[in-house]
Symmetry: C2
Subunit: 260 residues, 2 copies
Amino acid sequence: VSGFVWLVGAGPGDPDLLTRRAARCLESADLVLYDALVQPGALALAPHAQCFSVGKRAGRQAMRQETIHFLMIRAARRGKRVVRLKGGDPFVFGRGGEEALALAAAGVPFEVVPGVSSAVAAPALAGIPVTHRGLASGFLVVSGHAEPAYRPALESLAPRSATVVVLMGLAQRGAVAALLLARGWSASTPAAVVFDASGPAQEAWRGTLAGLGTAAVPEGAEGAPGTLVIGDVAALELSFAQRRAAPSRLSTLDSIRSRR
Amino acid sequence: VSGFVWLVGAGPGDPDLLTRRAARCLESADLVLYDALVQPGALALAPHAQCFSVGKRAGRQAMRQETIHFLMIRAARRGKRVVRLKGGDPFVFGRGGEEALALAAAGVPFEVVPGVSSAVAAPALAGIPVTHRGLASGFLVVSGHAEPAYRPALESLAPRSATVVVLMGLAQRGAVAALLLARGWSASTPAAVVFDASGPAQEAWRGTLAGLGTAAVPEGAEGAPGTLVIGDVAALELSFAQRRAAPSRLSTLDSIRSRR
């Protein structure tokens, strides 16, 4: 009997944002290898599984990628049902493609279960639609992890021709803002940083590209992932909870449009 | 007693790719207003609800956007629990932002429930990771619906600096290819079209940017949505089902890398 590996997207954090298929995979799993951003509530959906963290933690190094491959393949060859649970979507950064290649090379059957990507969900949960008629008809997603990775795309994209979303972008917010300003983006372009989207410490900073580089990280969100959103849509705040504060934001829509 | 509206992403089609929160919203809904791409299996999750299609269908016009707003607001004011079920994610095209604005303006409480976007899931389900170390460190998502909407971003983006994903891009595949070729993208850049992602007629065309304009639509997928994927990652086919056909594709990875 051969095992099986599911490469599963866990969504931005809140276990309610796992897909029904992800929940079913966890329900039947013998082994779960999970990333650092996966929340305990997601692991509670896997009552029969051994659960191992393979992600980076404060003060501890992440497991080597090859070790993760080895653990998945060995368990599958022993007949185990393995869930590799990754934050967001398995194919949006996070090296899911490499894991799929390793499984294919080893002859281990696997399936990819797409997840809710933070690239869209982090802005949405802060009330920011990455596209909006008249404001943005597309969006560019890059990782803030390494400058050579995001520079070519950000440097070429025409100012305001698409919303820019930078995942894991907190440390690079100054460099990203400087790069876009040098490319000709206006200093008054709306910008936002969403901290710990869907998590207990969710909070958003809002301002302009001029202020993005010095945007303060709220207390309690220091270790949390940060998603940068840059573009006219970042001035919107389409959530009911903030409605009492919202009229001024909602009315900015017309002024944004008239500026263009 | 006041009603409530959830703007819910239904994912790419397969009801298993709805989130757990989406399923719970449907479970408790009195009224579901759904788009054309939502599959019957999703509506089966709403046993107590009246379900109305408000999307475009062959030969019939879509309901006017203002009518959708009116129906949501009226039902909520009558105390109903309303789910506005939208294909993919509510804030990736599809006018979810406008619906949120209308609800906020009417004082109707609402919540956005992010979904699995076809922008990432359609490629993933065909075995294409939108990002992959050494091949693509970002992705640009545009809608093929209107040329003025996608042109500025596509025209400026430096060749191969990010994967390009065009949703609803089937009709415009020739125009998109021509635009990228004129921008300096190589004719040999890998390209793919994913038809009916996660649906019963799912199929993928694979080739290069040179052939994209004349890519044939498979029988049975004529009315289905098509997602274009352009960039080195489109040469990958990371799914186990196609594994026997895959060695040649997998081995292309090295040749792609060495070309760069």
